[in-house]
Amino acid sequence: MSALGHYLEEDGIATVAISLIRPQTEKTRPPRALWVPFQLGRPFGPPGEPAFQRRVVLAALRLLERKAGPVIIGDFPDDDPREKADPSWRPPSLPAVLADRTPSGFAARLDAEIPLLAGLHRRWTAEHGRTSVGLSGLPMREIGGYVGEWLQGREPPSPNDGFSPLLLLRFAADDLKAYYLEAGAAEPSKPSSRQLYDWFWKTTAAGAALIALRHTLLASDSERVKLIAGNFLVPPPYVPSTDRPMTIGGPSMGPWQPGQ
């Protein structure tokens, strides 16, 4: 992000960047940046809090009026109030995850669990007017089956032109997570990201299936499969200690802990 600011400013466009990791901004030295004390993924703060977001946006834009640069790095003073857990939140009621820890057992549970959340997901979509499911282009009823095929050691063909089977698997996994996280937040309470991610990764059949899938694919002969499985399926805080953690570089790929 700071590099983008540098390039655009060199070509005559004034910029101000939001900074989520201050030491990286201090190193890259963009023309102007506002550091914000929010978790990665929330550059403008809490969802559903327009007054708070407005203060962040305006604090950043006001740096454009400061004369004492380059470099200007401002600090936003307030934490994201939505990082706190909501004790009133109750996760969706789902059957306990599973005795059968075979690949076919994981796949069957995943397939059975997805429809159980359909009502909550419809409620989410109706209330928010949107869903962020859609990267894979597959309907949700097919996503479980596609992930299940991979779980059981098969590499199903990609039904979407332009997506390799492995790329489609990554997007299907992203869609699966989005569907669950939206369904999990469908009730009127305001769960923190930590509450939602803990629920997904620690209690659902989908979370268990993705953790099992990661484990299985890391034994692949293909370096590309191992790269995708190791880095892009399960966030490091939820990788079992018995599995090998993997991280690759990149400005937005630092270690991440969801909120409280």
């Binding site: 590099a3 540098h6 977001q53 937040a185 937005s252 630092g254």
Partner: protein, 153 residues
């Protein structure tokens, strides 16, 4: 929150030691008061309009977010899984604060909001992004944009 003091020491050390580009110059563009600025958002969240081709791997190019894009149209295809997505799911302004910019323009705090906004994917290599960023600068000038709000995830 991403305060290094709040993270486990090993994580904090890794973040602080992260390899970042080191530029020889410090460009600086001034401009009119905020009330006369035309503002565009340039995200690095790997945003795309539904139906488009998501960012793959570390694609260094950018997507456009055209006028009339609705909240249900916008998806995140950033390759990283190491950031929160639930905030964006609930409210696109967490990542793409277009409603806030439109409000600021309506009340006259900023001059106007650009018609088109843009997204890169932040895991791309900075030197590979550079030609695309410079091409984007030309498009921004054509749209008379005088301020860019850069939004990472």
């Amino acid at each position: 929150m991403v305060r290094l003091a709040d993270l486990p020491p090993a994580q904090a050390q890794r973040l602080a030691a992260f390899d970042c580009p080191n530029f020889a110059t410090e460009p600086w563009v001034t401009g009119p008061p905020l009330s006369q600025r035309r503002v565009a958002i340039v995200s690095s969240a790997g945003l795309l309009v539904r139906g488009g081709m998501p960012f793959r791997g570390r694609d260094p190019d950018y997507h456009t977010i055209p006028p009339g894009t609705r909240p249900d149209d916008l998806l995140i295809s950033h390759v990283s899984i190491n950031f929160d997505r639930t905030g964006f799911q609930e409210d696109w302004n967490v990542v793409f604060p277009i409603d806030r910019l439109n409000e600021l323009a309506a009340e006259g705090t900023i001059g106007s909001v650009a018609d088109v906004h843009y997204s890169f994917m932040g895991a791309a290599e900075p030197d590979l992004i550079e030609p695309h960023a410079r091409e984007l600068a030309g498009r921004l000038k054509q749209d008379k944009v005088s301020a860019v709000l850069l939004a990472p995830v």
